[in-house]
Symmetry: D3
Subunit: 223 residues, 6 copies
């Protein structure tokens, strides 16, 4: 019984890879931010797949035995889809949110599941005797409001996202709105030239269309 | 050989669930804070169960080959019991600390152990073919001095605390004292109405006696 | 198929312990710091062993579909060796970096691997029926530029470093340089007297030569 | 033309001290918090007295020439009155806010205005040749959501608050609500015994009724 | 002898207002960021006008009597001009920097200089008996790399910028480069409707061309 | 009546410069740190000269009308003297503290006092018609425990320290101890070559004996 999670980065519920069975499906939670501090869920674990979505899936309690729900300025962040936002750049809410939230599935396999990263633009092979579950892009960490940050364990399938997006997640607020903000950053392993390992890195700025040329590829494998 | 930890949130040493065997017992460490930064131990892992308690279980070292123990302003945080503090709200120390520190046991099971969360006030069922170890409340994250924070992996048994307390942990200092402070916050998954998933959350403030009506329940399961 | 990582803290590639087999070898990544926030890799996992070294192994992307590599002020931190720095304390770069970066190996064992900590200066025994892989010192957390911090799961083999160093890691910059800085701190479990568990900790300052007298020892064990 | 501000900590507009003339009146802004960072206005300056109140008196702009008002999770903090909150501890909004917001006046004097602090429970005298404007309690700094903090220049009249309150300010949100939260802390100069200056401070915990026994007093003086 | 600073937000050296005399001219420093913490200079003071520009105008020193210049990842931020960046969005350096850095002048007047803010889109009048020096837009605070922040005292002439720009400053690095980044945010006082002071703020998103409709105006006045 | 402060950086009480008169004398407070956030006092203002020293000169209060003095892990930082610490590097306390704390005097002059900085190793001249009060080194900012930071307004006499020290301040704790720590950093304006203003800064590392060659000089002037 080894449990892992797969995210579609679309509104379609992903299927469990061949040889594994579905436990439950949900919505792709990346991290929560309470009292201005972030706490991430590894995207390879069941904790990143919540069965119920809400812009505010949690509450807080304090010393005087009082708990508060959605009454202060907290955040949740979810993996998102490729659906474009309305042109006025205003926050969205209500039913309009649904097309933007990625779906996920929690699966059970017979053996351990790992990610391997090539640090090149080529997809790495699985270790001998391991089978491929999916291939993707090497996702390391992210920052958002207040530069609060969390990240992925590179050994976890959560560090291998099947779709590359410059900002693969959306920010949601307790007041019921979500939006993309310019201070959301995503960090990825880079494609590196092995002959330049101990040389000074050459700064580069890449724009849409060239991005896949510099992001490391990965593969998720099961024994 | 799958290892997990169980916490009693009392001064009683908890027992390993049926079908698992005890490795060792200890005190329930939640996180340490050094140089004003927090680092948490997942409550579902052996790292959260230290065999020896101290208000200062760690030390720090720096570049000039000097290490310092208990000589600067660091913190440790431990799961606590329901024992009430003295009415003068002053910090406690020495033998008076012992009734406030939760005990734990590290157990070994034959298969993987996970937590499942209902996001309702009902306890969720274990997946088919998994047996229940315990049920509890869905603990997500916490903040304390300086709003430093850490949290639980929701897939880990550490995210399913058997007792709900508004502030389930106590703060301890290198000078040998512990106390509860008003800027300690705990964060829990909320009970959500599935028909309101994409609706604006309704702010709520709940006081002692009503709190269990809004906290998500969970179950810890073993294959 | 249980995967773990071993670090030599030298330029020598470590061997996989008896009874386990090598998956791949690499360089010992401790954590990355982007947009002034740190994200650590557990030293016991494959994510801490990158097959290719670079002072800047990652890049960042933002909302306008632009990604930037090595063009802003980010950091990477690597486990280092005992090789001393040049006496002028200036940053090093290029080929001169290689002797300072620790090597690692990712291994596969047939069963789970854990660390146990004694909280004394004696090496703890493995649980009954578990075999020893290596012994070391109990490494808890670290802080560096901006006091950004991350740490180890004490249940992971990554929390048991075979060599004790007051600062076991080196800081590298996107401009191709690395150096040690005085605001790098390492945190270790302390050796504690069990008869003084609920007593006030006695502050101590220790210098080179005495340090091993106060650091907790650990052992990494496999079922 | 020396400008300073006086705050009533009530809903009454304060008067300018004898010998000074009124410039304008307003509401007592303590600090704003945007993108999870606080920026304080010194309470002795005109910047802390805004002619118009709003729970969200500011907006933010970013690189793509977009500005957003009240659409993300920002905060403003205002000096408050002694009016008690409703017993259900829920946030308040709309007209119900008005009784809780302190009023202020910006005054012009002919000479410089300073605060002097006694570090005792006695009100200090003004320097020779300076006249008293008001006396109060020595307010140093404060922290709130996310422990974000700012403070007062002790030389400024803003560091001498006429009323002592354990939490002299209220937190407001862009959604139109305000409330008191347990992680709001205020910091004050303490009353010190001059014969114990180089002795170890004796920890003390004081409750309502005893608080004025430990807070330093101050006086605001004009040449 | 009252000293204040005026910034042109162009490469032209501004003139001192009528009735004041020039002390020296320089480059418009907004803030420095060292060891990942920001420290701002109030734009109304002489500290924001450095006679010499450098992407790294400062250095740091530490306990072992070592100082380092430009060898670690620090930042400086300067008020910038309206000159557009090259279309490839890559950082600029060397002589190409000069057109982007605002110039300033430090002036001496016979009396105190203050800013007044209307919190409307109309320019406020100076208090009776005060003369106008310039009018502008009400600049409150800013955040940048790592969300580090600082701000302006609203009573200071530095809070009244003559040109409104969504991001009025540029980020520079010790390696000699400068650029604009999407996580630079500026915060401004908003234009408010006095009849809605205690009403819920209406969220708004404004784009280029509409921005001046929502920013508060200000005037700088001298007695 | 213009008030400013002068610090001796020795245990000797400094004298007020010719033409100014003494208001009171005290101890040189640099900043306080409460709930892990720093708040600095400008060294040029009276707020940086406290008449009474204590390792814990302040207390904190919270929402439930409780105030606590010296019972949690707060800090104060003071300008220090050149007296060397004991060789065992252990914290000092009690009477042994007195030789390490700088003394200060608050003075009143007839006109405004400013600092001017040369950004070279030469002391700058005062503006025409201003007289010199003292000359020094250009002190910008500092960071300490948790990298908490504050700084000086460069227009204030507090930014011109008469003695250069790599770490000019000492850290004190509520438990009554003080010490120097390796993560205390000071930041100073650098000496710059005007012909290289728009050139890439050349990294430099300087050790004791060379430090004055790279620190900018300053002069404090009164009209």
């Amino acid at each position: 019984g080894f449990i892992f999670t797969r995210h579609s980065q679309t509104t379609r519920i992903p299927s469990c890879p061949h040889g594994t069975s579905q436990i439950y499906v949900g919505y792709s939670l990346l991290f929560v931010q309470g009292n201005e501090r972030a706490h991430g869920q590894d995207l390879g674990t069941a904790g990143s797949c919540l069965q119920r979505f809400s812009t505010m899936p949690f509450l807080f309690c304090s010393t005087n035995d009082v708990c508060s729900f959605a009454s202060r300025n907290d955040y949740s962040y979810w993996l998102s889809t490729a659906v474009v936002m309305p042109p006025d750049m205003a926050p969205i809410s209500g039913r309009a949110l649904e097309p933007h939230i990625s779906r996920c599935v929690v699966c059970e396999g017979a053996a351990m599941v790992i990610a391997v990263h090539s640090q090149t633009t080529g997809v790495p092979a699985c270790p001998d005797g391991w089978m491929s579950l999916w291939k993707g892009f090497s996702f390391v960490m992210y920052t958002s409001a207040g530069s609060e940050a969390s990240g992925q364990a590179l050994a976890s399938p959560g560090s291998c996202l099947e779709e590359f997006r410059a900002v693969p997640f959306i920010e949601c607020h307790g007041r019921g709105t979500c939006n993309y903000y310019t201070n959301s950053y995503s960090f990825w392993l880079a494609s590196l030239n092995p002959r330049r390992m101990f040389r000074r890195p050459v700064p580069q700025t890449l724009k849409a269309g060239e991005l896949e040329n510099i992001i490391s590829r990965c593969q998720v494998c099961m024994k």
